[in-house]
């Protein structure tokens, strides 16, 4: 870039134009973060007239108490499953739709519907669907009991399987799972809803990314001997989608960190804290119990995680996936 000397007046005007944005950013982003950081070293409780400085006690609690260990476990399991699943499902759906000529738009709409729907409203619908007694899922599963469906689904036809011990056989004999009320299935159910809700968004991002893959490159690869579809995908499409993938992964990770509405509406962090994700912990401590000190400490840790993800993304963008 050629450095042309600029007149001083223009420089000042530039600052004046930027000032409102900078000021707003400081006011509504930086100041609250700094305040939260300061409060995280106190035991301030909303409404109480005085408080004490407790040093790093809030933070040491975060890494010592079993409650917060469960919180970190729930958060990272959620992210660890939702991110890869919704990225690959998004990519798969995008590739399939891209290969369709006619009905692409119908599928696009179907997969994108959950993204557009209000998650909180959807959560209430899921609550009804997953009700242990009157919910559609368990009623449907129970319908198959005693029929040929049970024989097939309980895998009793495999000589080495005892039908009573399989999921379906056990469900028929006893009860089908209480999806949101059992400590074994609650997090899995929340993850399922998270993927269901999120992958449509990734699909749209990938569809946009696919339009930027030049056809000439694909043709060229065929001439160079990339005969199978997999070769063409792996050598051309996937490589060209690099920047999209980094963006999609980062966005999905941050969104997964922020999961809250399904947990609040469906499980309240339970049973026995198996779905106690970070956002919900912040809400419970800071808003429901007025314990601003510990709530702020969780918030700061949360921000550090998100910051780390963002830094990793920058590093990736600058080093690896630079094509233009």
């Amino acid at each position: 870039m050629i450095d042309t000397p600029r007149p001083r007046g223009l420089f000042k005007t530039g600052h004046a134009f930027v000032a409102p944005a900078v000021l707003l950013m400081i006011l509504i982003l930086m100041v609250p973060v700094v305040v939260a950081a300061i409060l995280s070293f106190s035991n301030y409780s909303l409404g109480s007239p005085d408080f004490d400085w407790v040093g790093v006690k809030n933070y040491s609690k975060l890494f010592a108490r079993s409650t917060y260990k469960k919180m970190l476990t729930a958060s990272f399991v959620y992210i660890g499953v939702v991110v890869p699943l919704s990225v690959f499902l998004g990519l798969g759906a995008a590739l399939l739709i891209n290969s369709l000529g006619r009905f692409g738009n119908i599928y696009k709409t179907i997969y994108f519907l959950p993204v557009m729907a209000t998650l909180l409203v959807m959560a209430i619908v899921w609550e009804f669907i997953l009700h242990p007694d009157v919910g559609v899922v368990n009623r449907l599963l129970a319908l198959g009991c005693g029929t040929f469906a049970e024989t097939i689904l309980s895998f009793g036809w495999l000589p080495w399987v005892d039908p009573a011990t399989t999921f379906y056989g056990h469900g028929c004999a006893q009860d089908f799972p209480h999806w949101l009320g059992s400590k074994h299935t609650a997090l899995g159910t929340i993850i399922f809803i998270g993927v269901w809700q999120g992958f449509g968004f990734n699909m749209v991002l990938y569809l946009a990314g696919l339009t930027s893959v030049p056809r000439e490159l694909v043709h060229a690869s065929v001439i160079d001997g990339a005969d199978s579809a997999w070769d063409r995908f792996w050598l051309v499409t996937w490589q060209m989608l690099g920047p999209t993938t980094v963006f999609v992964v980062v966005i999905t990770t941050i969104r997964s960190f922020q999961v809250f509405d399904t947990v609040e509406a469906l499980t309240d962090g339970g049973p026995v804290k198996t779905t106690y994700v970070m956002m919900y912990a912040i809400y419970e401590k800071g808003i429901l119990q007025n314990l601003i000190g510990i709530g702020s400490a969780i918030t700061i840790v949360f921000l550090l995680f998100v910051l780390a993800v963002t830094l990793v993304q920058r590093w990736f963008v600058e080093r690896r996936v630079h094509y233009t």
């Binding site: 035991n43 409780s45 909303l46 409404g47 109480s48 609550e127 009700h131 242990p132 007694d133 009157v134 009860d175 209480h178 949101l180 009320g181 059992s182 400590k183 309240d268 339970g270 049973p271 026995v272 804290k273 419970e284 401590k285 808003i287 429901l288 119990q289 007025n290 314990l291």
Partner: protein, 421 residues
């Protein structure tokens, strides 16, 4: 609107606002908020119809209702900081103390003193005691509840149970019989706000949850309560229902018994499927006793939290507060919910109402057992409630089998959160 009133009170724009206010006949607006719209919506609709007729110059503005008592108290605490308090608020009986301690709720004695025929003794004493601090009344009880048993008589009959259980052991036996018919045994309200059912099991043995400002679960009574829960949940194979799911299951006739606050009698009767008969009965007794020795009082009380300096507005707020907690308001409580109205006279006002609604009489019969519903002291009060909730949940989902170990952990964790000294 509220800020306008404040400015007026400060005399800054008194002239500005006095003009239009005088024009429409000295209308005064007051603001009000209450919890559990699902239970009380019809009650307030009924009350307001009559109130608007009798006091056309007072407009009551309803704020968004609180989800539960914890939410109600929290909202008020936040509003106190932001200086956005309503004039009158309905608070859980166990959450009044904190609002009095923080100086947010105001004593009602000055208002009571101006009333010629205000009979404090018209209220059930135990109810009024819950709202009295330093010999001053801070809240007037609006609705009072006790835990009771709800029974689906058709399921009980199909299971061959002719006598409604009076002890928890009989409840477990009933569960086993019901399970054989393919239905679920029971839904037990361990997840009710403020650890109410845990306190109910403590009171059943005449043991308070808080004794001399100390957490009283560390003794034998505490262990009994935990063991009773474990026996019940395991014996009945109770599912870990959320409150909404459990109520839906009972209302739709999938569950034979429900142990819950009497407050839901109204809504269960309204919402239940038509093909079964509901009957309520007193809360079963523990340790082989046929009845509890005492029970925690649930429900809510009206508190005066207005920050207005406008005397007219304060008077209007008192008029409203008095109206809903006595006479007609109290009668509407009995008619539309399962709660017991706070004044003895209200029961006479509604005449043979209870003869026609025997399901609502169960709680009235349990009134002599009424005892304190404890709130945990200090800044961590709400956190302690949650710790105890979590411990109960561990029993429900089968996360722990050793109740002595659970008791030890629980007592240690709660004591760490209780105020020192």
């Amino acid at each position: 609107m509220k800020t306008l009133f404040k400015l007026a009170a400060a005399g800054v724009v008194a002239a500005l606002i006095a003009g239009p206010a005088a024009a429409d006949g000295h209308k005064v607006e007051i603001e009000f908020a209450y919890p559990y719209s699902g239970l009380f919506k019809e009650t307030y609709a009924k009350i307001m119809k009559e109130f608007n007729k009798q006091h056309p110059n007072i407009t009551v503005k309803f704020r968004a209702s609180y989800e539960n008592y914890e939410d109600g108290t929290n909202t008020i605490l936040r509003e106190a900081i932001a200086d956005k308090l309503p004039d009158v608020t309905m608070q859980g009986l166990n959450r009044q103390a904190i609002l009095v301690e923080k100086g947010i709720a105001q004593s009602l004695e000055p208002f009571i003193a101006t009333e010629a025929d205000f009979a404090k003794d018209g209220y059930h004493k135990a109810m009024l005691d819950l709202s009295t601090f330093d010999k001053q009344v801070y809240g007037l009880p609006f609705s009072v509840s006790t835990p009771i048993g709800y029974y689906n008589m058709d399921i009980l009959k199909a299971a061959g149970i002719s006598k409604i259980p009076t002890t928890w052991d009989e409840v477990i036996t009933a569960c086993e019989k019901i399970k054989k018919t393919g239905k679920d045994g029971m839904f037990w309200g361990w997840n009710i706000t403020g650890n109410w059912f845990m306190q109910a099991l403590m009171w059943s043995q005449d043991a308070p949850m808080i004794k001399n400002a100390k957490f009283n679960l560390d003794g034998e009574a505490g262990l009994n309560a935990l063991n009773q829960m474990k026996k019940l949940f395991r014996g009945c194979g109770m599912k870990n229902y959320s409150i909404a799911d459990g109520q839906t299951a009972f209302k739709s006739g999938k569950v034979g018994m429900m142990f819950w606050s009497t407050s839901s009698v109204g809504s269960v009767e309204r919402d239940k499927t038509k093909d079964w008969t509901l009957q309520t009965a007193p809360f079963p007794g523990m340790l082989g006793m046929n009845a509890p020795k005492a029970l925690p009082a649930g429900g809510n009380a009206a508190m005066f939290v207005s920050t207005s300096k406008d005397e007219k507005r304060r008077q209007a707020a008192w008029t409203f507060l008095k109206f809903i907690t006595s006479g007609l308001g109290a009668a509407a409580v009995a008619e539309t919910t399962g709660y017991v109205p706070p004044i003895k006279a209200a029961n006479e006002m509604i005449g043979d109402f209870y003869a026609a609604n025997p399901n609502k009489l169960t709680a009235v019969k349990q009134l002599p057992l009424l005892s304190t519903w404890f709130a945990y002291p200090g800044e961590n009060g709400l956190a302690i409630t949650k710790v105890i909730y979590d411990a109960q949940e561990r029993i429900v989902v089968g996360d722990i089998d050793d109740m002595e170990e659970l008791q030890e952990e629980l007592v240690e964790e709660v004591n760490a959160l209780m105020p020192k000294g």
